[in-house]
Amino acid sequence: MVCGLTYLEWMRRRALAANEGYGTNLVNEPAAFEHEKLANPWIAILPLVMVGVMNKVFTNVIPDLYGKEVSFIPAVIGTVKPVVQNISGIAAIWAVEGALLVGILTVFVFAGKTVLGQFAEGSKAAVSGALLAAINTASEYGFGAVIAALPGFLVIANALGAIPNPLINEAITVTALAGITGSASGGMSIALAAMSETFIANAHAAGIPLEVFHRVASMASGGMDTLPHNGAVITLLAVTGLTHKQSYKDIFAITIIKTLAVFVIIGVYYATGIV
């Protein structure tokens, strides 16, 4: 993190020295806010706090409320199957949706008048932004699923399984699969679903605690977030209205620093035995 900040600070100084300024010809800029009086900063930060807090609250409350799964029978003519939903899979999604709703309502409570005037236009822009970002990532997701189903993918996965050191094997396998599928969580699920038995057996054989394995797997999964076709990178650029050409270099630098940190962690573990 310190390296990352140092890097950004360095880029900022360089831009300042070159007198680059904020930039011109930009898209997706937030509308200029023209009002004589700004809101109290404590009120202004409240919606953001509400999202964080309510997300946590809902995550804890939803499983208690619904139990393990919920099913209902839709009221239509004819015989119908009940709709069953598995709560553990969607509790987190429901929680963040609820938290965002609370956040939005909080803004309306404190600044309803100001917002309503421009809400029609503003919400249209928000909807098209959300559509673009969601469909972008979704099509990446489809791409990852197709690639993971091809025989060539199996060749790669098996080849990676041949690396002798268990931790490095795990790190490289997860990183590579995440890179190929364009999705950190997608790649990690595939890697662990296919190889968790092997990983765990290796860990026991080498006497490495599973906690270390867990940490390495989850950190390595973000490694190839570095690549330009990653869903998160594309969303980030779509929302800010910038292009790969303008900003990808910096994202790459930041994420590569972190990927290297995985191998530092492996090194630290072997040197000291501390997780």
């Binding site: 999202v51 709703l101 690639i147």
Partner: protein, 194 residues
């Protein structure tokens, strides 16, 4: 040969994404191209049965999150709240600290369990105001958000409730961090974002 096809599809997709072509158009082209070279008969079945199926599955789960996240970011911006916070942070810390404060806000939100995708929508209005006020080029915003949201809290700190940290727990047992409550309440769906 099979192996080269997979790498080829991947490189093609990275290249078009980097050049700024829409991934929505080229992800299916890349995926189906790879299928065509492997087994031409499977193109249509794989397209509907796997590609579109996974794509729609993602939309089913995450589109509402993206939508609410975007609306939230928008009302924060329209209400002037983002500007108010930026003004007071700059008063407090000075304009040189703009990037640090954005990194911290991202880190706090993601560590609190807010999805990375939502963080991008919610923080962008702040970041844009803050960078403008401090005369930092806009092109540095994505890198700054990436540092705060995609790196440290996503998977490096123990106990973060982000999906990347949760998935391994369904395979390798240790609960996320030392907070027993999070393990049971956290997302266990293995099909997720990022």
């Amino acid at each position: 040969m099979d192996f080269l096809i997979v790498l080829g599809a991947l490189c093609f997709l990275m290249f078009v994404a980097y050049r700024g072509y829409s991934v929505i158009l080229f992800a299916p082209v890349a995926a189906m191209g790879a299928v065509l070279l492997t087994d031409p008969g499977m193109v249509a079945p794989m397209f509907t049965g796997l590609f579109m199926d996974k794509m729609v599955g993602f939309v089913k789960n995450y589109f509402p999150v993206f939508l609410l996240g975007a609306v939230f970011g928008k009302v924060i911006e329209l209400s002037g709240f983002s500007k108010a916070i930026v003004a007071s942070v700059i008063n407090l810390l000075g304009p040189q600290r703009a990037m640090l404060s954005i990194v911290l806000v991202c880190a706090i939100l993601t560590y609190g369990g807010v999805s990375l995708f939502v963080v991008v929508f919610a923080v962008y209005p702040f970041a844009a105001e803050m960078f403008k006020a401090s005369r930092i080029p806009k092109r540095l915003i994505p890198g700054t958000i990436a540092l705060g949201a995609f790196t440290i809290t996503m998977d490096a700190l123990p106990g973060t409730p982000q999906i990347q940290n949760i998935i391994p727990t369904t395979f390798s047992r240790p609960r996320p961090g030392r907070h027993p409550g999070w393990a049971s309440s956290a997302p266990c769906s293995s099909w997720s974002a990022a």
